[in-house]
């Protein structure tokens, strides 16, 4: 097994942080864009770019509620995204000989 077997969508520092942070929430919960940005420390533009890539792969879902200044965007991991992180973690374990 080589590092090439790792999911390229997750195997990027920023996206790995996004997926790992969202996975800390219970299934069915979502995190606001602002809080996610605070927790990971990315610029809004950069975060949007990575979120879009993950959303295109159906790893996460974003939902916008409200209008104008009161609008709020929330982000949640999908079952597919959670499964992808589990597979990524297992692959990493395999590459590192069981330790993580």
């Amino acid at each position: 097994m080589t590092a090439d077997t790792l999911d390229p969508l997750i195997h990027v520092p920023a996206r790995l942080q996004i997926v790992a942070t969202l996975a800390a929430l219970p299934d069915g919960d979502a995190l606001s864009f602002t809080r996610l940005q605070e927790m990971i420390g990315l610029t809004p533009g950069n975060l949007i770019t990575h979120l879009r890539k993950l959303e295109d792969a159906d790893y996460l879902i974003t939902e916008k509620t409200g209008n104008g200044p009161a609008s709020r965007t929330s982000v949640a991991l999908t079952h597919r995204g959670r499964a992808a992180l589990e597979t990524y973690t297992e692959t990493l374990r395999g590459l590192l000989g069981g330790g993580l």
């Binding site: 590092a3 790792l6 390229p8 195997h11 990027v12 520092p13 920023a14 996206r15 790995l16 942080q17 790992a20 942070t21 996975a23 800390a24 929430l25 219970p26 299934d27 069915g28 919960d29 979502a30 995190l31 606001s32 602002t34 809080r35 996610l36 940005q37 605070e38 927790m39 990971i40 420390g41 990315l42 610029t43 950069n46 770019t49 990575h50 929330s74 949640a76 973690t89 990493l92 590459l95 590192l96 330790g99 993580l100």
Partner: protein, 224 residues
């Protein structure tokens, strides 16, 4: 987190180059632990504050009843101190919880509301039974001593144990069961001693919990 990092916007990092499996594993574990810490409202300081408060609250009631012969029940002054602790405890937990869960929405928030409503109904039922015992002629020592001092804690402990077992939160399960054991054991101390036994027992449990939380927190930080 200090400042805002700009990460992954170059082709190199976007393709994952430079991120070896060991580095990825470290980043994954570090991010998971940090997220769990930031989303969890519990802290060693909160437990320490509760340990001190519970000792003062139950201690004040014990001081108000220890010289009563026959037993009449806690005095208003003792109850004010106890309820002041309860209010401070609820306020500090709500504040810490809101802070940790800021920006979180979804199913668990709805579940917490349902749990809160269920707990409120059960606590009201505890005091309805207390009123029934009093009207049935049970002694003041049972109604305003052993029963009221232990039933509330038994309900809170059992509720917490069931909730944490479902969530597989073994730390919280241990804490809840310890509260149940303290309450059940304190019932043997009689109407006066039950307040002191509850206060000292809960204080020890909460101090242990605070120490365990501090140790776990330090271990997760040093591993990360």
């Amino acid at each position: 987190m200090n400042g805002t990092r700009d990460r992954g916007d170059t082709k190199t990092s976007d393709e994952g180059e430079g991120l070896d499996p060991r580095g990825a594993a470290n980043l994954l574990v570090q991010t998971q632990r940090q997220a769990q810490r930031e989303l969890d409202f519990r802290s060693p300081w909160l437990s320490l504050l509760a340990a001190a408060g519970v000792l003062v609250g139950f201690g004040a009631v014990w001081l108000s009843v220890r010289g009563q012969h026959p037993y009449k029940g806690p005095t208003p002054a003792g109850l004010i101190v106890l309820y002041a602790f309860v209010v401070i405890r609820i306020g500090s937990v709500v504040y810490a919880h809101r802070r940790a869960q800021a920006g979180v929405s979804g199913r668990s928030a709805q579940r917490r509301q349902a749990e809160g409503a269920a707990l409120a109904v059960v606590l009201v039922a505890v005091y309805v039974v207390m009123a029934a015992l009093a009207s049935d002629g049970a002694s003041d020592g049972v109604v305003y001593g052993v029963y009221v001092a232990t039933a509330t804690m038994l309900v809170l402990g059992t509720f917490g144990a069931a909730r944490s077992a479902v969530r597989e939160d073994w730390h919280e399960l241990g804490l809840s069961l310890a509260v149940v054991l303290v309450a059940a054991g304190s019932a043997f101390a009689g109407p006066r001693g039950v307040w002191l036994s509850n206060g000292v027992g809960l204080c020890v449990v909460l101090l242990g919990n605070s120490a365990a939380q501090a140790w776990l927190l330090r271990a997760s930080r040093s591993d990360a």
